[in-house]
Symmetry: C2
Subunit: 343 residues, 2 copies
DNA sequence: TCATCTTTCCAAAGCGCTTTGGATTTGACT
DNA sequence: AGTCAAATCCAAAGCGCTTTGGAAAGATGA
């Protein structure tokens, strides 16, 4: 059923039917009701493509997910973020279109999306330090919003980020308060902006407590369970092992715990662990009492909010880009405790 | 830059330019080259919407992800599956449209996608027993392919599935071979088709070994780490605890291991564990030697293949629906060993 | 040289919608 | 009854592409 058929069926012009359906005032209430009823019974919905052509809008937002072909790793937070954003799009009648793209092809993809007028805007995932995508999108004039930030880009742009720096500073402070001084950091890949900021927060706390940064206590890599395990095992085997570990992801925290327990140590007693927790739906940090002490911030919520921000900026293109910094909450669980006393 | 401008620029008609770009034969090689060069320099790409309107194709595939609003759980395999499918779409010039939908709204969403002619076909995720979506999509006449199967639907339809039954039967057999007889099953939600099939495979092996199914050794729920942990803890605390556990997901297997080790037992010695492993990129089953003995099947690969299947069926609408059953491979890791001798 | 194919290109219609600019009807008010 | 504005509705243009049905030009064979 298309507009023409529907209007013929109603004995009205396409104009009137279109206006009735889109809430324009030039239609009598009676007619509008009649039209709406007919639309419902015939299950009429305007063709996305025709509507888009006529209005010049795509009513779609693009999500371009970078994937380094090297490790083929899909970011585990991706699903929950998308779920949050999807909620927002659904409410606003937008569609979400997804491109999973090899690192190298990204430029081409953004240009394609723009040239083909396939989307009204895009969300940028996984920003890196000095990420070239921000500049590219600005040049293209394609509205966008970034999940995270990209240090090193001079001009303002729309983003939403967790305050990674303060979260990790606070977490490190917390460990100091418990008496720990040898605190390790198992972080995400250095080139990722969030990892950079977390390290800064960590280093800042160390500095405030007059403890020098010890390179042997800092790791960075892709945050898998195995990675957490291996880093921890190595650190615990060497002399002068850390008494506390800061970890960038709950998944690798599971590996950290495994390494600790494998060595016959007790987490929260012999070794304390604090992790960041994205509150993923399939990876909850325990039940009532959190297993891990964690800096927590829901990535799904971030998805909802960032989508909202992008849609708002599309609706009002002249407004300056917005930013939003979410504070992670520190949840104390059973993975932390006072530093063991020296023998 | 649009077609009109481009063709004016070249001194050709829109027809000729369109034909040159779309590989029609009625264009001289010289002209074609000239057109292609111009398209490249002006970065011309036909508008998706206009092209779609003209051709009647959407060049897009819909993925409708169900999410029960009750637990708000996003399936963790989703990201990797999408990544695989996305690869295929990219190769074929298709777009992927994602809708994350509350269980109840699904019908409405499919009808909307169809009525608005927004997609050429859809992938059905997470089929349940007697899943009503299959019938609905058949009635709508919207091409589709299912990731998994939906027992109870009479007519043929396109699907791709892992042979869950044989995988779990084989895994159970394997445990019997090691001397285990008290084998527990920690499974996904019973209403999910895959969980049903896995239980069948498990039960079939028990029957073949003249062991009665013991309801106290079977659990089903959402496959989180915590769920694996709690099920295992309960089972190990009761008398007559299982000596082996079959688990439906690597994530909950991590919880299983935690419960085992917390009790001071050794996995692979006191309690053997076999899990299904979807080969998720962010959750690898150890390095060279798998940690868990597992029935393994790459869900990303499934995404690639199923997308290919759907595109083929769209290209050739009259062909009968295809099916593909993937066999999981049994990878022996260090989580299994001979059954402990009775004291 | 002429008729007949090929080759190469084009004008215009059409895809399904929105929207502009008018036309018609209705109603209120002198 | 006559006037004017408000309320309703409509025909047609246009969004950017593909595709149909020719037309013009060039090549071929008699």
């Amino acid at each position: 059923m298309n507009l023409k058929e529907l209007s013929k069926n109603l004995g009205l012009s396409q104009t009137t039917v279109s206006r009735a359906l889109n809430g324009y005032p030039e239609v009598s209430p009676a007619t509008r009701q009649r039209v709406e009823a007919a639309a419902k019974t015939f299950n009429y919905r305007p063709s996305t493509r025709a509507k888009g052509l006529a209005t010049g809008q795509a009513l779609a937002i693009g999500h371009v997910i970078p994937m380094s072909s090297k490790h083929e790793m899909v970011n585990p937070i991706f699903g929950d973020f998308i779920a949050g954003a999807g909620e927002t799009y659904f409410r606003h009648g937008y569609e979400m279109i997804l491109s999973i793209v090899d690192d190298g092809d990204e430029k081409q993809i953004y240009e394609g999306l723009k040239a083909r007028r396939a989307v009204d805007g895009v969300i940028v995932h996984g920003p890196r330090m000095n990420d070239p995508r921000i500049g590219l999108l600005n040049d293209l004039g394609l509205p966008f919003a970034v999940h995270g930030r990209a240090s090193g880009y001079g001009h303002p742009y729309a983003w939403l980020d967790v305050n990674n720096r303060s979260a990790f500073e606070r977490a490190t402070d917390f460990l100091f308060d418990l008496g720990h001084t040898r605190i390790a950091l198992i972080n995400g890949l250095e080139e990722m902006d969030f990892a950079h900021r977390r390290r800064e927060g960590y280093a800042s706390s160390l500095a405030a407590h007059d403890i020098a940064v010890d390179a042997s206590l800092m790791r960075s890599g892709e945050m898998t369970e195995v990675y957490g395990y291996e880093c921890t095992r190595e650190m615990l085997e060497k002399g002068n092992a850390p008494t506390a570990i800061l970890c960038s992801s709950l998944i690798s925290a599971l590996g950290v715990r495994r390494a600790i327990e494998e060595k016959g140590l007790v987490m929260g007693k012999d070794v304390s662990v604090v992790t960041h927790d994205d509150a993923l739906s399939y990876l909850q940090n325990g039940g009532d009492v959190p297993i891990f002490t964690a800096t927590r911030s829901s990535v799904r919520d971030a998805g909802r909010k960032l989508a909202e921000m992008l849609l708002a900026s599309i609706a009002d293109p002249l407004s300056p880009p917005k930013q939003e910094l979410l504070e992670a909450e520190l949840m104390v669980g059973s993975s932390t405790g006072p530093a063991p006393r020296k023998d």
